[in-house]
């Protein structure tokens, strides 16, 4: 969060070198005549400055006013306008420094005496500046806006050309250059009055006509005179960000009120975030979160367009997601109320997603890219908060086993809601409002439904188990490149005693992945993660490897390798036995290899009778069949084991996609999904 720049120090430095001030002895009159230089400082700094001037002059400002600037009695003739103006300015400074309403009232009283003298720009400026402050204090937005517009029109505009002329002649700092040389400060003061002071006094409506002035200020005015006000001391950065928001996707049709309100809410949100990082979900954090949430609600109330509502919901869902994530991470469940729900956000999303052709203009977007970015941004927040909230419920189901049934089903409902949204809008590859990351999120949601019922719900119904198996299959189709998911499907099937159905259920997803033109192009072109995908595809193409994927786990690799060794030993034994049987049957027995001699049966001495021969032939047939089976097993295991082991190296792809919503593979998942849908729809 960017804090408001403190300009006072720089202004004071400038003021010290100001011609009039430098040429004359310190006096309140001189300071008051140049008060436009420092009047926008924050109260604490303004107080400090006034105290320093008081030391220099030898009297505090209020004493100076009492002694030298009190209104003149009517019988003493008209008061000099300069004196009246100084009194108005002095009271305004006292008000700005300590918030005294009495001072403001006196300032207003004095400045109104200048009404017959408004031909002078300096008088016009202070007249509208003081009255704008009064309007702020009274919460009169219409008056405030009117005075700022008048100030601009009657004090600023007439000075612009003279100022440029003076600057060209290098006379802008000359003692007699007059009020025109104040122009850079007037820009700065108007910017601060509209953007900051209005917000400090809680004015959160009726500022929209001032958007025009704000745009003017940002267009070559504030920050354009670094020789007078250094950039670091000006409000240019904040002003630029406000204007960027006014014109950007997070606007409400250009409403300044909304933009400033959303800015304030975002600042409060940042503060709550900072507290969350340092204190966890402490009482203070929760309080800040409530305040931020209320500020977002104000912004929502001020929004008039779908664009504005989308901007608020996008930000507020981020806060909701952070709350759920923190609750899960910290294992606490504090009371946090919010007027926002995921369903509200989905309603807004639907308004955006159902736009046709150029109708996005009706929602207040100024260009199509901004509309698409905002729509996708809202979707991403909906998906993130859904997944975070569901994760939270699953973790609660573990920590509170007696409520596991309810919590796991809450999670399943959230995942299902997201899947409904996905089915409704991810209907074609070019769906504008659906981000690439939506497809992996759908995989996560589908898997989440399955796991909520099978791993977290204590007693899932048969219908829930059946739904879980279907969701596992959906998850596999959306993202087949997670090795562990195949085994999860087997586990689910085991719950129904249907593990033998595994291959039939898994094969469509595997074939879809191996036949995918999009995936093959991706791999051939060497796109990101191509090698990891190639390894997995190789496993999907081999039904034995697919079986291993379903029934083995990473920890069982050593066992699989040991079983291969055992098979090889069994093969050797069987071969030796077969050799011995052949010898026993006599005749053409081959010489016994030395290695087999230890297992060799005694060499036949006598011919076998008919019964013995039949028995030996039966044994030989059995041994031959066994050897053939062992050979097949060895061949299969020797072939699939390396494939399976290779797939282990692809582990973590899912986690990478989960943590990086901009991962390149999201785009591939999108293409694969729609490719599969198209081929399924083809006659």
């Amino acid at each position: 969060m960017k804090t408001k720049p403190s300009i006072l120090a720089v202004f004071l430095f400038l003021f010290a070198g100001w011609p009039a001030a430098s040429q004359e002895a310190a006096s309140w009159d001189a300071y008051l005549d140049y008060a436009y230089v420092f009047s926008s400082a924050e109260p604490a700094m303004l107080r400090a400055r006034l105290e320093e001037y008081a030391r220099e002059v030898g009297a505090p400002l209020d004493a100076h006013v009492s002694r030298r600037l009190l209104p003149i009695a009517a019988q003493n003739g008209p008061e000099d306008e300069q004196r009246t103006r100084r009194r108005a300015v002095a009271h305004l400074l006292l008000h700005l420094a300590d918030g005294s309403r009495d001072s403001l009232a006196k300032s207003v009283e004095a400045v109104r005496l200048l009404e017959p003298k408004l031909g002078r720009h300096e008088n016009r400026y202070w007249y509208h500046y003081v009255l704008a402050h009064e309007a702020l204090e009274r919460g009169r937005q219409h008056d405030f806006t009117g005075h700022v517009l008048d100030l601009w029109l009657k004090a600023v505009v007439p000075l612009e050309t003279p100022y440029e002329t003076l600057k060209t002649l290098s006379l802008d700092e000359a003692p007699a250059s007059g009020f025109a040389s104040a122009l850079p400060f007037l820009y700065e003061n108007v910017a601060r009055l509209v953007l900051m002071r209005s917000q400090e006094t809680g004015l959160d409506r009726g500022l929209d006509p001032l958007a025009g002035i704000v745009r003017l200020l940002a267009d070559g005015r504030v920050g354009a005179h670094p020789d007078v006000i250094p950039l670091a001391a000006s409000s240019k950065d904040y002003l630029d960000r406000v204007v960027e928001r006014l014109d950007g996707p997070e606007s409400d049709g250009g409403s300044l009120t909304f933009t400033l309100t959303l800015f304030e809410a975002a600042k409060l949100h940042d503060r709550a975030r900072g507290l969350l990082a340092t204190e966890g979900l402490s009482e203070a954090t929760v309080k800040e979160m409530r305040v931020a949430s209320a500020a977002y609600k104000t912004a929502l109330d001020r929004s008039n367009t779908v664009q504005g509502k989308c901007a608020v919901h996008t930000r507020v869902l981020r806060q909701l997601g952070e709350i759920y994530a923190a609750k899960q991470r910290l294992g606490v469940d504090p009371e946090i109320e919010t007027p926002f729900t995921i369903e509200d956000a989905i309603e807004i999303y639907e308004k955006l997603a159902e736009v046709e052709d150029d109708e996005w203009r009706d929602l207040a977007y100024t260009d199509r890219d901004a509309f698409v970015a905002a729509t996708r941004g809202l979707w991403e927040e909906i998906q993130e908060v859904t997944l975070n909230a569901a994760d939270y419920y699953l973790s609660r189901s573990v920590s509170l086993p007696h409520l596991a049934g309810a919590y796991s089903r809450n999670a399943a409902h959230l995942y299902t809601r997201y899947l409904s949204l996905f089915s409704k809008y991810a209907t074609h590859e070019e769906a504008l409002g659906v981000p690439d990351s939506a497809y992996f999120a759908a995989h996560e949601a589908a898997r989440g439904v399955a796991e909520a019922y099978l791993l977290y719900a204590p007693h899932p119904t048969p219908e829930e188990v059946d739904l879980a198996i279907r969701r596992y299959r959906s998850a596999l189709k959306l993202f087949p490149f997670d090795r562990t998911l195949w085994a999860s499907l087997t586990t689910a099937l085991q719950k129904q005693g249907r593990e033998s159905d595994y291959l039939a259920l898994a094969r469509p997803a595997a074939e879809s992945a191996t036949r995918s033109r999009a995936a093959n192009r991706w791999i051939e072109s060497g796109e990101p993660e191509a090698e990891r995908l190639r390894v997995l595809q190789r496993a999907f193409a081999d039904s034995l490897a697919l079986m291993v994927l379903g029934f083995a786990d990473a920890e069982g690799v050593a066992e699989l390798e040991a079983s291969l060794d055992r098979l090889r030993q069994e093969k050797a034994g069987t071969e030796a036995r077969l050799l011995a049987l052949r010898r026993r049957l006599g005749g053409g027995a081959e010489p016994v290899p030395a290695a087999y001699d230890s297992h060799a049966l005694p060499r036949p001495g006598l011919p076998l009778d008919a019964a013995e021969r039949a028995e030996a032939e039966r044994e030989m047939a059995e041994a031959s069949a066994l050897l053939q089976r062992i050979d097949q097993q060895i061949e299969a295991r020797a072939r699939t084991l390396p494939i399976y082991v290779a797939t282990l190296e692809s582990d973590g792809l899912g986690a990478e996609l989960r943590s990086r919503r901009d991962h390149a593979l999201h785009a591939l998942l999108r293409r694969m999904h729609h490719e599969r849908r198209e081929s399924a729809a083809a006659p």
């Binding site: 300069q82 002078r120 720009h121 300096e122 219409h142 806006t145 009117g146 517009l149 601009w152 029109l153 505009v157 007439p158 000075l159 612009e160 050309t161 003279p162 440029e164 002329t165 060209t168 002649l169 006379l171 000359a174 003692p175 007699a176 250059s177 007059g178 009020f179 025109a180 009726g206 929209d208 006509p209 958007a211 025009g212 745009r215 003017l216 267009d219 070559g220 409400d252 049709g253 250009g254 409403s255 008039n304 367009t305 207040a364």
Partner: protein, 179 residues
């Protein structure tokens, strides 16, 4: 150029007097709005031309900002805001833009003609939004008069685009009655 030079000379003279007088004259004396007006019909060249161009460019940008803000208020049906800003824009046009354009000098200067025409288009556009079709028509008449024979000149109109002056006038005339 002569008038402008005179203005500057008067300004400098007053400045010297101010300095010589010790406390000086009230600072605003030298900087009344009349300085701008007196320069309107002056021949343009050198620094003065650069100044005038800068002034016209700034005015053109400012008018665009007003159009955008009015559109925004209209989009959100903010009637109070519209009333306030329309009043402001009306006065701004009357006190600042009209005196600036009250010359045929700009239209005759190749460096300023396009800017001048652009501002006039924007003024007419704003007047249309202010529901002042007769004033908008006057601006259109001025455009037709000042730029007669130069209908193929490119101007920054409609907002955000460039088109020929003739096409711009057609668009403007069409919009004038629709408000």
């Amino acid at each position: 150029m002569r008038d402008r030079g005179l203005s500057v000379a008067v300004f400098l003279a007053i400045h010297v007097l101010a300095c010589a007088g010790g406390r000086g004259l009230p600072p605003d004396v030298t900087l009344e709005d009349g300085v701008v007006e007196s320069a309107v019909n002056a021949p343009l060249g050198g620094v003065s031309l650069a100044h005038r161009r800068m002034e016209l460019e700034r005015t053109q940008r400012d008018l665009r900002h007003f159009v955008v803000t009015l559109d925004s208020l209209q989009l959100r049906r903010d009637q109070n805001g519209l009333v306030l800003l329309k009043g402001f824009v009306d006065e701004y046009l009357g006190t600042h833009v009209d005196p600036m354009l009250d010359t045929d000098m700009h239209s005759k200067n190749p460096e300023l003609a396009s800017l001048d025409a652009g501002i006039r288009f924007l003024e007419a556009e704003l007047l249309t939004r202010l529901r002042s079709p007769s004033r908008a028509q006057k601006v259109i008449d001025d455009l037709e008069r000042l730029y007669e024979g130069r209908e193929d000149m490119l101007v920054d109109y409609p907002i955000g685009k460039k088109s020929t002056l003739k096409k711009g006038l057609d668009v403007l005339s069409d919009r004038k009655w629709r408000g």
